[in-house]
């Protein structure tokens, strides 16, 4: 039997029997380890959390979804969706984009929102003020435009 993730022979076989259904997972040692299913050192316990997330996760045993998996891996730090699901931590700032398809529903569940509205770094704040100043000038609201001009000057000095 071949590994469901790659072409190597599967040596790790997991069966999850739930109410009314049974799911099986067949992986090679390398893929199982890479997904945090078995510890690197011998003698450890199965990582139940990683297992659950794999069994219930987006990718099943289907063929030809290697491209999909590649799309779910961060090109910068190499974190993939399964690792993220197992540990719940991002590896770098680019993961939010790389795993966006999974991140957005998660954020919606945790925060009941997916878009930040709050403080931003100074450079972005200045950009926003510049836009607002242009709008104020267009609307002939010179008082507001002058206030924004002063803010921008202060931030840029």
């Amino acid at each position: 039997m071949k590994c469901q993730m790659c072409e190597n022979p599967a040596t790790v076989h997991l069966t999850d029997i739930g109410p009314g259904k049974k799911r099986e997972l067949h992986l090679c040692a390398g893929c199982a380890q890479a997904r945090g299913l078995v510890p690197e050192q011998p003698g450890g316990q199965l990582n139940l959390k990683a297992l659950l997330s794999l069994l219930t996760g987006a990718f099943g045993g289907g063929k030809g979804d290697r491209a999909a998996r590649r799309a779910e891996t961060c090109a910068v730090c190499g974190l993939n969706l399964a690792e993220f699901k197992a540990h719940g931590r991002f590896g770098c700032e680019h993961d939010y984009e790389a795993l966006r398809a999974a991140v957005e529903p998660l954020l919606e569940r945790v925060h009941r929102g997916t878009a930040h509205c709050g403080k931003a770094p100074r450079a972005l704040r200045v950009l926003a003020w510049k836009q607002q100043m242009q709008d104020a000038i267009a609307a002939e609201n010179y008082e507001e435009a002058a206030r924004l001009r002063d803010l921008i000057r202060k931030a840029e000095s």
């Binding site: 719940g88 931590r89 929102g113 709050g118």
Partner: protein
């Protein structure tokens, strides 16, 4: 600044003088920030971590926002000192116990601190006495600006400040208020309050944060959501809830005073008696009694014990503090004896009486 110099001191946040300080001990606001271009903690090697430390130290040294922060290296710090800083709420247990280059910078008043290489590259914190969400936010906002002027933060136009854990993304802000709720505990209403809090998405924890038990009727209440709402909005949501809890606690205190003043006086007096005469006492028992005394003081059943002193004893009777005072490590029983001795001496100094 030498760490030992902090020992007899009291962080500003423990003065017990801030607004609503009969119920609110302190207010804390923290911001999670990461540096752009460097991997987060789980993917960072020693070189990356050293790079984070180097950049952070430089920015901290040059930041002039009013708080003069001094940096302390954690790996070269003895275990006891790390525990000491944890007890003073300046670092987390995670920062004390993890591996690799990391550290903390804080000011002499222990108001502002910056942890470096905790779960995120930077964890800024401001601690204030009493109920002071706006002041704490204004303070940390300034500190954040000062650091940001010299650091390139990881920021996303949609997701906001990017953090290692998705539960912190967006504002990266966690505001938490430490409450002393003995009367709600005594009148068995506390569980009800907490069930209500969880429903509206606020988290409740003990004195030392996640997973710690609520000894001495001390509870930390904090926001859970960090994304989708602005900092002032999040703060106002917490404020609203805290104000309600304050009212409940005060009502419960008034009821205790009205219905069983004698019994409450007795309870506080016995607690003070135990604290000032025991020859061995555990940290848990100490906190339970200190809680009773603190309530007794606020109900005007006990005189001559300043609240600041009680607040101080909550922190100074913890094990690393006692061991630093002793000047050497102490075993469990020795600690209990040292704690009793310290309490006896302090309370005698105050001339406490019921």
């Amino acid at each position: 600044m030498k760490l030992d110099a902090l020992l007899p001191n009291l962080g500003e946040w423990l003065r017990g003088t801030g607004p609503e300080s009969d119920v609110v001990l302190s207010t804390r606001v923290r911001l999670a920030r990461n540096l752009s271009g460097l991997p987060f903690a789980t993917r960072a090697g020693p070189q990356h971590r050293s790079e984070v430390v180097a950049r952070a130290k430089e920015a901290i040294a040059k930041a002039t926002d009013g708080h003069k922060l001094e940096y302390f290296d954690i790996p070269s710090m003895p275990t006891l000192d790390r525990q000491f800083l944890t007890e003073r709420q300046l670092i987390s247990r995670e920062l004390a116990g993890s591996e690799g280059p990391r550290g903390v910078a804080f000011d002499a008043t222990e108001t502002a601190s910056v942890m470096v290489n905790e779960e995120d590259h930077l964890r800024l914190q401001v601690l204030r006495s009493g109920f002071a969400l706006d002041e704490a936010w204004a303070d940390i906002d300034r500190l954040d600006d000062a650091l940001e002027a010299r650091l390139n933060y990881a920021f996303h136009t949609q997701f906001g400040y990017l953090t290692a854990c998705p539960t912190n993304v967006g504002t990266g802000m966690r505001a938490s208020v430490m409450l002393h709720l003995p009367a709600l505990g005594l009148t068995k209403q506390i569980e009800k309050v907490f069930r209500a809090l969880q429903k509206i998405n606020l988290a409740v924890r003990g004195l030392h944060g996640e997973g710690s038990r609520a000894f001495g009727d001390l509870y930390q209440i904090s926001n859970h959501v960090t994304l989708g709402k602005s900092e002032p909005k999040l703060l106002s949501e917490i404020r609203e809830v805290i104000v309600t809890i304050l009212q409940y606690e005060r009502q419960a205190r008034a009821a205790l005073l009205k219905e069983r003043k004698q019994a409450e006086h007795d309870r506080a007096a016995r607690a003070l008696g135990t604290l000032s005469s025991a020859s061995m006492i555990t940290a848990e028992e100490t906190m339970e009694h200190l809680s009773a005394v603190r309530l007794g003081v606020h109900l005007h059943l006990i005189e001559n014990v300043p609240i600041t002193a009680i607040n101080q004893l909550f922190i100074h009777t913890q094990s690393a503090h006692l061991q630093k005072l002793a000047g050497h490590p102490l075993g469990g029983e020795e600690r209990n004896a040292a704690r009793a001795k310290y309490l006896k001496a302090k309370l005698r100094e105050l001339g406490a009486r019921q």
